[in-house]
């Protein structure tokens, strides 16, 4: 097991394995998203209060969930990279940040569009979760800005890893404080005592979307890590062998 892990952490091996892994994430993910979108948008009944407007939940919730998940992946790989000095882990953290920022942005945009018919405004400061998503977006920006400001890759990896960990300690505090600050959002729907408060015809498409988004996210992050690894190892022999076609000299 440990041996396998060490083998995976070697960049050329990861590069080979990941090429085979991506379809296993991408295709099931795409199928789930198509199923979730069709049954969520057309089959599921309209909400008795929100009408058809609730259907944006099928994009909003997976995006919001992935915005947190990406930060967790980022912070965990940063910790692994910092503690065990595994270079691949730093590459994963670097690849997760822009993806996380995009999903955070998507969650903000869909939340805002959803808020328009529900609250009558595009932006509601009284809603704690929208506000903490915004702070989350700023955390991603800070992380990416720090990475971009340091030229040496090794140094950028370590410094941004410290920042990611400090951020990970702070995120629960930020959520709590924004929650305390004000509350107007609808309560949690899926994870609560006594089972989900949502009809199964609405629930299954949502779960399909969440898993579909996660799988596609997995495929995207693998792709990004692959390019990141290629760039970082650009002077190594194995990259030259892959990138320069045979018989092209050099």
């Amino acid at each position: 097991m440990w041996n396998w892990f060490h083998k995976l952490a070697s960049p050329p091996h990861f590069y080979r394995i990941s090429a085979k892994m991506i379809p296993w994430f991408a295709f099931p993910g795409a199928i789930l998203i198509v199923y979730g979108a069709v049954s969520g948008l057309f089959v599921a009944p309209a909400d008795y209060q929100q009408g058809d407007a609730f259907r944006i939940i099928y994009v909003h919730v997976p995006a919001a969930y992935l915005s947190m998940m990406a930060y967790m992946i980022m912070a965990l790989s940063a910790a692994i990279g910092l503690i065990w000095r595994i270079k691949l882990a730093h590459a994963v953290a670097a690849a997760a940040a822009p993806l996380g920022a995009w999903f955070t942005f998507l969650a903000l945009i869909t939340g805002s569009i959803w808020g328009r018919p529900m609250w009558g405004t595009w932006w509601e400061w009284g809603d704690p979760r929208l506000t903490s998503e915004l702070i989350m977006l700023f955390l991603y920006f800070g992380y990416m800005a720090l990475r971009a400001a340091i030229d040496e890759t090794v140094k950028a990896d370590k410094a941004s890893a410290v920042l990611a960990l400090v951020g990970a300690v702070n995120i629960p505090i930020i959520h709590f404080s924004v929650e305390w600050w004000s509350s107007l959002h609808q309560g949690p729907t899926l994870v609560r005592a006594g089972g989900p408060a949502i009809e199964t015809a609405m629930l299954y498409p949502l779960l399909a979307m969440i898993f579909g988004f996660t799988l596609v996210f997995g495929a995207l992050i693998l792709g990004r890590v692959r390019t990141e690894v290629l760039f970082r190892e650009r002077l190594k022999h194995w990259v030259r062998v892959i990138v320069i076609p045979e018989g092209a000299g050099a």
């Binding site: 702070i135 920006f141 800070g142 140094k155 410094a159 400090v166 505090i173 404080s177």
Partner: protein, 232 residues
């Protein structure tokens, strides 16, 4: 007992030497201390000019304005926390010294608070009076600012350590630290508002005190790690 352990200055000695040195340096260059304070006063002055002079409006926006101004002034002063040490090489000495680095950076961050945070807390009633704040609220505000500025000095020392030696450090520091400091701002400003509305303030003050303790105990380790990375 090896001879090195006898000749090595103790933990407390190293810690207090760092604080004394930074305070002495600030004393010799009073401009560095005064500029953030002037900035604090000026930002607080801009708001009434922009919002209008009506008493209700000033009382309503006062806690938020004082807190935002304090946050920005602290941020401004944080930039220089490790900069001069980095430039003249004494940061290397700090990193190489036999005392544990987290303890020494705790000393530096506390010295930063004594130089910038404490004067700001002492000056804040002057600003608060111009916002027509009642006396009880001013007391609460000073308590929240005291806890808040300590937390900001600790949190900011992490950002200052990460950005020291970078060319675009100043703007970057704000980008790194502002999102992390939201809880302090939220609880600080809201507690003062609650006090002005004669509502319970205990929860907010407890939170700020707890955050302050957390920052005091954890931030020095992150700052030390960041300094080792930036200074290698």
């Amino acid at each position: 007992m090896s001879p090195t352990s006898v000749s090595m200055p103790g933990l407390w000695h190293g810690f207090s030497a760092v604080i004394r040195r930074d305070i002495l340096l600030a004393w010799k260059r009073p401009g560095d201390v005064l500029n953030p304070l002037f900035f604090f006063a000026m930002v607080s002055t801009i708001f009434p000019l922009a919002v209008g002079p009506s008493t209700e409006q000033l009382q309503f926006s006062g806690p938020g304005v004082v807190w935002v101004a304090a946050l920005l002034a602290t941020l401004l002063s944080l930039n220089s926390l490790f900069l001069s040490d980095f430039e003249d090489g004494s940061l290397d000495q700090l990193v190489l010294s036999p005392q544990p680095l987290p303890l020494l950076v705790l000393g530096k961050a506390l010295a930063h608070w004594l130089i910038s945070g404490l004067p700001l807390v002492i000056m804040s009633p002057l600003i608060a009076i111009t916002f027509q704040m009642p006396a009880d609220t001013i007391n609460i505000m000073m308590v929240t600012l005291a806890f808040g500025t300590i937390s900001l000095s600790m949190l900011g020392s992490i950002g200052a350590a990460l950005t020291v030696g970078l060319h675009r450090g100043t703007a970057l520091l704000g980008l790194l630290i502002l999102p992390l400091s939201m809880p302090i701002l939220i609880f600080g400003a809201r507690t003062v508002s609650l006090s002005a509305a004669e509502d319970g303030v205990a929860a907010g003050i407890y939170f700020l005190a707890a955050y302050c303790m957390l920052a005091l105990s954890l931030a020095p380790f992150a700052t030390a790690a960041a300094l080792r990375i930036s200074n290698e």
